[in-house]
Symmetry: C2
Subunit: 326 residues, 2 copies
């Protein structure tokens, strides 16, 4: 089933959007954004070799890698006329290029976290890049929801290999979630359909901010529920690898609760909404642990909105909803 | 502090062994084994691109990568006259080349796990290579302990970067533990001293086989102790990345308990003894959860001996000893 770019990748996306539409998304926006991933992976390698000599200065090194990743994506954005606005965790002002590109038929805004998982860069664990792709000239809206406006998302997985999960859900099309590898400028589909399945041999859980269980008895009970039901623990502390683990295994539940002393910290625009789109396109559910509502059903009104996250297989999210969020 | 091979690497090792000794270890065995790591990382990438198309056949893919890694190390062993015997998780018969190399002044045996962490290769998480280096013509003994015979260990960390922790403790020398990066045939010291420190801001725990807490109330109590004391959870399920996390952060405790329904499964020769040497050289402790004794104090009598593991900062291991192993 291995398919080679460009035919396999392009054909796959064409088959999930209405006939003859979205050519800029297919030919330009998605492939060019995916091709930033090997460059970010390379930046991660080079920075380490040249600068990680002093453990004390590691904070600075991480910052450097973040900035390198940011610049790589920004420079790709500059080459994509269809991307008319961009906003990132590093530079949250929505930079608009709409003045120049007002004639573009397709107009997209991207919102991205160039390098997620800074606490695990030092130990050389897998980290990730998160990109949401939105219809129109902004991702921000007082009334329109991410479900209406966000039409694709990329989770780049920077590990031993450079892979990515791509989710696409455009009006009139078929929601899809698939895995690609990106190397030597080639994009290969390595898993044409990524789906969270109801029936799996092993059940996984990823409990974020476990320290919150100390002050939240419901969270502690939930943890003990997973232990008593013999779920397998996998928790890297990196949002992308933790979500990707569930997608590859076909099962998983990720829980990032909100308590009085641990307020919402995940960024809705750069983390929660792209992840929610991926999870939904893979057949799962993603809700905000602040109120139990679907993440994609509330407009993103500011770039710095925060939230909590419970996501994974639908039945697992229902269990968390009943045990933690009521 | 970044140092370039060969001078930095060689000089560092020369400073921790008795003057003028161990030249084959320094010039040949350690650098050549370290240089297998980028090749194994490359094998991991290539296999994925060419064969991971079908999720169903992933078991086979993993097997292929294991075999590729095994072959890469074996072919290096064949080029190192001082390595007179080798044994691995994939091929546990101690292959001896002593007939040919009986004239070598320095004689070493290596015991290795070419690719540890098969369950997390699919999700593209960091995995590792484990190598123990033993004095003499075999690692197996009825009477001599690993503490007497194992003189060096390598934990290769195959993540976004290719790094390794090297531990060396030869009779008459100074125990050392340091981190290197390996790229383009160059070995660079990126952290000259890796030490588990008593005082750190954040305390980490990695509870392996958490399902065992269901039938072992002491393990469940221990987990609840970490939660109540607000330890931070990091558990990838890969032995090398989990241990390496503690080493880089300067703090961590890894617990792999043994219960009636989850018997000892970590291999003493290919996993436990090299990891124990690394942890001890970093100032920590590594005990077998079967009996609470130091892993390095019991001879390895068979290649397939198994054990449990509790390791990390000394004070943390003492806590586990008092709460779980008594």
């Amino acid at each position: 089933m291995t398919q080679t770019n460009p035919s396999g990748f392009t054909a796959h996306i064409q088959s999930v959007v209405p006939d003859g539409t979205r050519s800029a998304l297919i030919q330009q926006v998605l492939p060019q954004l995916l091709r930033t991933l090997p460059d970010i992976a390379q930046a991660l390698r080079s920075t380490s070799v040249s600068e990680a000599g002093s453990a004390n200065s590691f904070g600075d090194n991480q910052l450097n890698v973040d900035v390198l990743a940011e610049n790589i994506i920004r420079s790709t954005v500059a080459q994509c006329p269809s991307i008319v606005a961009a906003s990132s965790e590093e530079d949250p002002n929505e930079t608009s290029t709409i003045g120049e590109n007002v004639t573009e038929k397709e107009q997209y805004t991207i919102a991205f976290d160039p390098l997620d998982g800074s606490s695990i860069i030092g130990p050389n664990w897998t980290v990730g890049t998160i990109i949401g792709i939105w219809d129109g000239q902004t991702a921000i809206s007082e009334t329109e929801t991410p479900r209406q406006k966000q039409i694709a998302a990329i989770l780049g997985v920077l590990g031993p290999r450079t892979t990515a999960v791509v989710a696409i859900r455009v009006p009139g099309g078929t929601p899809t979630c698939f895995e690609v590898s990106v190397a030597n400028n080639e994009i290969n589909i390595i898993r044409p359909s990524v789906q969270l399945q109801l029936q799996t041999k092993t059940r996984y859980f990823a409990p974020a901010n476990l320290r919150a269980a100390q002050e939240n008895p419901k969270y502690l009970e939930l943890i003990n529920h997973y232990i008593s039901q013999k779920y397998t623990l996998r928790y890297s502390g990196g949002l992308v690898p933790d979500i990707f683990h569930a997608l590859v295994k076909g099962h998983g539940v990720y829980i990032s609760p909100i308590t009085s002393s641990s307020p919402a910290k995940l960024r809705r625009l750069y983390e929660l909404t792209p992840i929610a789109l991926v999870i939904e396109c893979a057949g799962g559910a993603a809700v905000d642990s602040a109120d139990g509502t679907d993440i994609l059903d509330r407009p993103v009104r500011h770039t710095d909105e925060r939230g909590g996250l419970v996501c994974g297989n639908r039945d697992e999210v229902d269990i968390v909803r009943s045990k933690l969020l009521t």
